[in-house]
Symmetry: D2
Subunit: 134 residues, 4 copies
C-alpha cells in the first residue's frame, strides 16, 4: 500500500473524498511529475534534440502543474473547490497535451513511451477525481 | 528593472503577451509564493497557533499554485491556454482566499498584513493577465 | 516496476550510476516529499496543534529538500557531484531530523508513524546513493 | 522594500540571522530560480538548441536547488544548520556552474547574459549567508 494511502487511512480529519480515489490520484501525480522531469533529460540526450523541443516544454509544464496539484490534494482537510477544480483541469489539459506529444515519439524513444503512459494514467486519475468532486 | 522583465526583453521568440503585463505577473507570483511560505513560519511562531491553522493551510496552497504558475508563464514560447487559463483561475481563487484570511489577522499580526498585500497584488496581476489572454 | 526505473532503463545516455540504486532513491524521495506534505496537513488537524509545530516545520523542510533532490537526480546525464553530494547530505540530515521528530509522535498519531517510515527509507536510500557516488 | 524584508521585520520570533542578509539572500534566490526557468525556455527557442543543452540542464538544476533553498530559509524559526549549510553549498555550486555556462553564451544570447547575472548575484548572496551562519 502506498504511503499516500497509508497517510489517508491514519488521517485525523475527514479527507472529504473517497480515500481510494484520492490516493490513486496522488500517486499518479507524483509519478507523472517525476516521469516528465526524467523525460526532459532523456530528450536532451537525444541526437535530434531540435525535434524534441516541444516535448521538453510540455514535460516541463506538466511537472510544474502535477507538483502543485499533488501538494494541494495532499492537504485535503480544507480543500477549496474553487482552487482544486481549475487546478485539476489544468492538470488534465497538461497531461493530455504532454501525453499526445510523447506518444508521437514513442516508437523512436522508449522514454517517451514510458512518459506517455505516466501522463495518460495521471490524466485519467485527475478526470476521475474531478468527477468525484462534483 | 526585474530579471523577469530583462529576460523577456532578450527573449528570442515572441512571448505571445504584453511583456510588461507578463513580467509584472511573474514578479507578483514569485513574491506571493515567498510571502506565503514566510507567513506559514510566522504563523507557526504565534502563541495562538490553533487560530492560525486556516491561514497556514491557505498559505501552503497559495505557495504551491503560485510556484507552478510562475514556472508555466516563465516559459511563454509554447503557452497552451487550456493549461494557463485554469491555472491562473486557480491562482486568483487561491490568492483571494489566502488574502481574505490573512486580512482577518492583519491587525494582530503584521506578517499577515504583509502577506495579504502580496496576495492582493498577485490576485490583481493574475486577473489582468487572464483578461489579456482572452 | 516504477516509472522511475522504466525511464532509466530506456535512457539514451549513461545514467552514471547503478540504475537500481538510482531508481530506488528517486522513488524514496518522491514518497517522502508527499508523505511529509500530507503529514503537515494531518498535524494541523490535531487538537494539540501547538505540540506539533516542530513536526510541521521539519516536514515542510523535508518536502522542499526531497523535491529538489528528486528533480536533480532525475536528470542524471550531466550530474555535478559538487551539487548532488551536498544536496543529498542536506536530504539525509532533513530526513533524519524529520524522522526522529515524527517517531516521537508515532504512538499518538498514526500519520506520524507512516511519515517516519517514509523519512527513514528516504534517509537510507540517500545514504546508499551517496556511498555509490564516492 | 521587498516582501521578504517586510515579513522578516514583522516576524514574531528571532530569525536567527541578520535580517538584511537573509532578505537579500531570499530575494536573490527567488530571482535566480525564475531567471533560470526563463532562460531554459529562451535556450529552447534558439536555432542552435543542440549547443544549449548543457546550459538548459544547469538552469534546470539551479532552479530546483534555489527553489528548495528559498523555502528553507524563508522558515528561519527552526533553522537546522545541518540542512541549511549543505543546501547553501549546493546552491553556491549550482549557481557557479550555471553562471559560468551562461556567461559562455552571453555575447550571443542576451538572455544568458541576464541569467548569468542572476546566478552570480545569487552565488554571492549564498556565500555571504553561509559565512554569517558559521
Amino acid at each position: 500500500m502506498s504511503y499516500a494511502r497509508q497517510l489517508l487511512d491514519t488521517y485525523p480529519a475527514s479527507a472529504g473524498a473517497d480515500t481510494g480515489v484520492l490516493a490513486a490520484t496522488i500517486d499518479a501525480l507524483s509519478d507523472c511529475a517525476q516521469a516528465c522531469t526524467a523525460d526532459v533529460d532523456a530528450d536532451l540526450s537525444e541526437q535530434n534534440v531540435a525535434e524534441m523541443v516541444t516535448c521538453i516544454r510540455l514535460c516541463l509544464d506538466c511537472t510544474d502543474v502535477c507538483t502543485a496539484t499533488v501538494g494541494i490534494i495532499s492537504r485535503p482537510a480544507a480543500c477549496d473547490a474553487n482552487v482544486t477544480r481549475p487546478l485539476l483541469e489544468a492538470c488534465v489539459a497538461s497531461c493530455k497535451g504532454c501525453g499526445d506529444e510523447c506518444e508521437r515519439h514513442a516508437r523512436m524513444h522508449g522514454h517517451c513511451r514510458v512518459c506517455a503512459e505516466a501522463c495518460r494514467r495521471c490524466e485519467q486519475a485527475c478526470r476521475e477525481f474531478l468527477a468525484a468532486l462534483k
